[in-house]
């Protein structure tokens, strides 16, 4: 009954698609929800109204704009994708989580090309998983630098972490850098000594590899530098602008805090790149992340609505809207044309970001769990009694990172079969209605023979119509054949796979 209904529904949908497709028009009124940061609500309403008035396709959006923090977008979307915003903004670090959760729709070919051409490379990489672009760059200013109180910190001390700490301790003022609760900020010390944490994702947002050198001699130097700051009684783990109003002389934070700090400190506000720290006679300039904010479109069941939404998202992240956002909110644009404009170049907050730029690292894709794993380094470093303690902290960190990829080499490089089959009792099935049969969930390992050909250990009875793929390392990166292998004739077969040619064959028993 249910199935029949589903089939009917699908047919109706296909029909309606054909009908609307033949019209090939996006014209119509769409009720949508848009999630943006609280500050951008009014501007976004205005921009959607502008879009309604100016677009040539006859699209009218009846939009509800809700204030949802960009830092919480992923958590909110994962609560229930269906009830989430049709278009939503989020900070870059949540990208992979959102892709994995099925909360982001892929961009069409044209849209993807436009995004690539118009935005700076770092932000495009931030919106890409595998080779697929999933989101529209919104800003390119998610980095951090240093604000300080000129009445406490002499100008000549701002380049040295040690001098800054000494000044703060002397004046009984706080040095505020969020090292104990945020991996984003504490990575600064590791980048200073040349450590990297580079991650790679596949098309589905799954992480497939990492190159992480935090646990290294350089990492130990970074930890020593960090210890200088976290051990100071005047260190405060925070990135809030308001710390200046409660006893801080230095706060490491980003462009978003500029206006608030300007209000608090007035003429005493100093803005500059991060300082350097010294270990064993060598100076290391603190690094930083160079990140961005993105705008995503939720997956849609209706093609016309999807296309219309993508148009809107493209408009909202286009040259004009980014410039408006810069002018009203001081958000640094990711659009190359906007970036080159004089106004943007002259903005003092962004200028500090630019000064910090040589030491910054594009954020790219980072495993969602990394933020939790890495953020404890700050507490670990603080608790460490000596160099050995610091090393243990890094060792622990490394173990946790490694555990995110628990594949042994045998599994990583081995080949397996996966498909419409139940492998537990060795029978291949096409009977989808049989409850006990799970399909496309379990892998059957192949064994490498003397001749280098991979083969199943025994022959399996297969019905006609069974489909499967052979893949490596339980991942879809290397899977053959490109279209599923189909069994044409029922029989009992060995499955054979030639690694060199990628050829899959059946051998009758």
């Amino acid at each position: 009954m249910k199935k029949f209904l589903a089939v009917m529904l699908a047919m109706i949908m296909v029909l309606s698609l054909v009908v609307s497709a033949s019209a090939s028009s996006l014209a119509g009124t769409y009720d949508i929800t848009v999630w943006v940061a609280e500050k951008a609500v009014d501007l976004t309403k205005q921009q959607i109204a502008d879009f309604n008035a100016s677009n040539d396709a006859g699209i009218v959006f009846n939009a509800t704009v809700e204030a949802v923090s960009e830092a919480d977008s992923a958590t909110n979307m994962i609560t229930d994708v269906e009830a989430g915003g049709d278009i939503f903004c989020f900070a870059q670090d949540q990208f992979a989580r959102l892709v994995q959760a099925g909360a982001l729709a892929k961009l069409g070919t044209k849209a993807a090309e436009t995004v690539k051409a118009d935005n700076d490379a770092g932000t495009v990489a931030a919106a890409t998983s595998g080779d697929v672009i999933y989101a529209y760059p919104l800003t390119s200013d998610n980095g951090y630098f240093m604000y300080y109180d000129k009445s406490v910190i002499p100008e000549e001390d701002v380049d040295s972490l040690e001098k800054l700490i000494a000044d703060c301790e002397k004046a009984q003022k706080y040095f505020s850098m969020e090292l104990q609760t945020s991996a984003w900020y504490l990575a600064s010390f590791f980048f200073a000594t040349g450590c990297v944490s580079e991650w790679e994702t596949d098309e589905a947002g799954q992480f497939i590899s990492v190159r992480d050198t935090f646990n290294s001699p350089e990492g130990l130097i970074a930890a020593k530098g960090m210890k200088k700051l976290v051990d100071s009684p005047m260190h405060l783990s925070s990135s809030q602008a308001s710390e200046f109003a409660s006893g801080a002389a230095v706060v490491v934070t980003g462009t978003w805090a500029y206006e608030d700090i300007a209000k608090i400190l007035g003429d005493n506000m100093g803005v500059t790149d991060l300082p350097s720290f010294e270990v064993d006679g060598t100076e290391y300039h603190l690094g930083s992340y160079n990140g961005c904010k993105l705008m995503g479109v939720k997956p849609q069941v209706d093609a016309a609505k999807a296309a219309a939404l993508h148009r809107l998202a493209q408009y909202l992240t286009g040259e004009k809207c980014q410039m408006e956002r810069f002018e009203t909110l001081s958000w640094g644009p990711s659009n190359l044309v906007d970036q080159a404009s004089e106004k943007v170049q002259a903005n003092p907050g962004l200028a500090a970001l630019i000064a910090q730029a040589p030491y910054s690292v594009p954020q790219g894709q980072i495993h969602g769990s990394w933020w939790d794993i890495a953020k404890v380094i700050g507490d670990d470093v603080k608790a460490a009694a000596d160099e050995a303690g610091l090393q243990t902290a890094l060792d622990n960190y490394y173990d946790k990172i490694a555990s995110l990829f628990t594949l042994s080499d045998d599994v990583k490089f081995g080949w397996t079969i996966i498909g419409t089959c139940n492998l537990t009792d060795g029978f291949f099935y096409t009977d989808y209605n049989n409850e006990a049969r799970s399909t496309w969930t379990d892998d059957l390992p192949l064994v490498k023979g003397e001749d280098g050909i991979w083969k199943t250990e025994k022959a399996y009875p297969m019905e006609a119509g069974v489909e499967f793929k052979v893949r490596q390392g339980l991942s879809w990166d290397n899977a053959f054949p490109a279209d599923n292998f189909k069994v044409e004739e029922a029989g009992t077969y060995f499955v054979q796979f030639n690694e060199a040619t990628g050829e899959v064959t059946l051998v009758a028993e």
């Binding site: 958590t75 269906e82 994995q100 009684p233 409660s246 939790d372 794993i373 628990t406 409850e435």
Partner: protein
């Protein structure tokens, strides 16, 4: 262990008495567990017998019943209708119709999908005309599990109702055979406000509890046996499926997997549980005794403005905790006003690490909890203290007892006797005191060894806040949170079981009336 008779016991010294009591308490635990297991065994045996009896009764009803009764086995309520009990008959019939309608329309589908929790996940297709991607959503594991369980509930309800229907027929035949009259619909209705009044009163509350408490808990328990998490949400990305005992093995394993941090989940669970128990103990008893003392102080003769003092104290009850606790948390921050005040007075040189040092943080939350908890206790104690007969004190005073002795011999025993059950419930609710920890520290400071991909764990985290963090962590491991939830239940249940067997005032419910 040697057991003493009453007389021997009285001869013992104080220390020996205490040790003896303690010893016999622990000796009683294995016996208690044995009784529990035997009890469960007996319960199962009894249940088996009951089922057997019921089936026998049903069969005999069918064989010996008349045609009205026999037809009632198929068409519920037919017997009632045929014998003139229209209201009952219609209700039975209606229930059967609704049940069959539901099972045919959707119930059957949910039930059939329950073993697999769905087969086809969402699919994505490229639409060339609009140059865009379109998603088709298919099976929904979450709904299958939810409505599957609901359908099972419904089936149980149906079987029960059907059994009632059969019983009704048997009883009706008996009554008619003895020449009496059956109850009319009007009489049925009247009994609902009289001898069956409890059913009327309980109907609404129990329905609510069934749907909004029991069903969710059953669902939550079942989640522990699946792989439901952020990347297997059952509809929008991947379906989830049954995984058996895997999650329990993960949580209870002492093996360091890395997934749990640099220590095993079992070790982390042990640490968090230990702190949870320490916290619950101190939170309960500091509040209990301090609240009692404050109540006694305010109630003392010669103290004026009694109402005023109480009013000031109960402000913490009246003002929502998310406002007051968040502010208090900020007050004690490194650069908060408490440290600022102490430093400006020159009493300290460096800020005190109220939230930064594990031990400091743990003591701080216990102390601040007193601020929240004393008022409740003060209110309760005020009322109870008033009920202590004044002549008890009088005679004590004539015997020359000082204030402390009076407290030890009269006030405390009286309070303990009456508030025993309250102490237990406040202990268990302190174990699950989410608000105080979440709003004050959020679990901080972090415990690096225990923090992992499943979320950070802090030194002040209780099991309940840990569970919350697991669900909101980067991987949203609901299945693991569910396992923790079940373990919390087991711990609380064990504690309650032990305490209930020691407490006198619960067993004798009627004594109070």
């Amino acid at each position: 262990m040697k057991t003493y008779s009453d007389l021997e016991f009285l001869k013992l010294s104080k220390g020996e008495k205490f040790l003896y009591k303690l010893g016999s308490f622990f000796c009683a635990i294995p016996r208690g567990i044995k009784h529990l297991i035997l009890g469960i065994g007996r319960g199962i045996g009894k249940a088996g017998q009951t089922v057997g009896r019921e089936i026998k009764d049903i069969v005999s009803t069918f064989i010996s019943g008349d045609w009205k009764t026999k037809l009632s086995f198929l068409v519920m309520g037919f017997g009632c209708l045929a014998r003139g009990q229209i209201l009952r008959g219609l209700l039975f019939l209606l229930f059967e119709a609704v049940f069959i309608g539901y099972m045919v329309l959707t119930g059957g589908y949910w039930l059939s999908m329950l073993p697999s929790l769905g087969k086809v996940g969402p699919t994505e297709a490229y639409d060339e005309i609009f140059d865009t991607y379109v998603t088709t959503y298919n099976d929904n594991s979450f709904k299958i599990l939810l409505y599957g369980v609901l359908t099972l509930f419904f089936i149980v309800a149906f079987v029960y109702t059907w059994r009632q229907n059969v019983k009704q027929n048997k009883m009706a035949e008996k009554i008619l055979a003895s020449g009496k009259k059956l109850k009319s619909g009007r009489e049925d209705l009247r009994s609902l406000v009289d001898d069956q009044f409890h059913k009327t009163l309980l109907a609404l509350p129990m329905t609510g509890i069934l749907v909004f408490t029991v069903l969710p808990i059953v669902f939550m328990v079942l989640v522990a046996f699946t792989n439901y998490d952020g990347t297997h949400d059952g509809y929008y990305n991947n379906l989830f499926s049954w995984v058996g005992m895997t999650n329990f093995n993960t949580m209870l394993s002492w093996k360091v997997t890395g997934g749990a941090g640099t220590q095993s989940y079992a070790a982390t669970f042990g640490e968090v549980l230990t702190w949870t128990l320490i916290w619950a103990f101190f939170a309960t008893f500091t509040n209990y005794f301090l609240g009692m003392f404050v109540a006694m102080a305010i109630n003392k003769k010669g103290i004026h403005f009694k109402k005023g003092w109480r009013t000031i104290l109960v402000l913490t009850i009246a003002i929502p905790q998310f406002i007051s606790l968040l502010y208090v948390s900020k007050m004690f921050a490194k650069n908060g006003i408490v440290n600022g005040f102490l430093m400006s007075m020159g009493w300290i040189q460096e800020a005190l690490p109220f939230w930064d040092n594990p031990t400091w943080a743990r003591i701080s939350v216990i102390l601040i909890n007193i601020w929240i908890g004393i008022p409740y206790l003060m209110l309760i104690a005020t009322g109870i203290l008033m009920n202590i007969p004044a002549d008890l004190y009088e005679s004590a005073r004539i015997d020359g007892a000082n204030a402390w002795q009076q407290y030890r011999k009269i006030t405390l025993p009286y309070m303990l006797f009456i508030t025993g059950p309250y102490l237990l419930t406040s202990f268990t609710s302190n174990m699950n005191n989410f608000n105080v920890i979440y709003l004050l520290t959020g679990g901080a400071p972090t415990n690096p060894a225990a923090s992992s991909a499943a979320g950070t764990v802090g030194y002040t985290d209780l099991l309940i806040t840990w569970l919350f963090k697991i669900t909101t962590g980067a991987e949203s491991q609901y299945y693991l949170a569910s396992v923790v939830g079940i373990l919390v239940f087991i711990v609380v249940a064990l504690i309650s079981l032990v305490v209930y067997n020691v407490l006198p005032s619960i067993k004798n419910e009627e004594d109070f009336q």
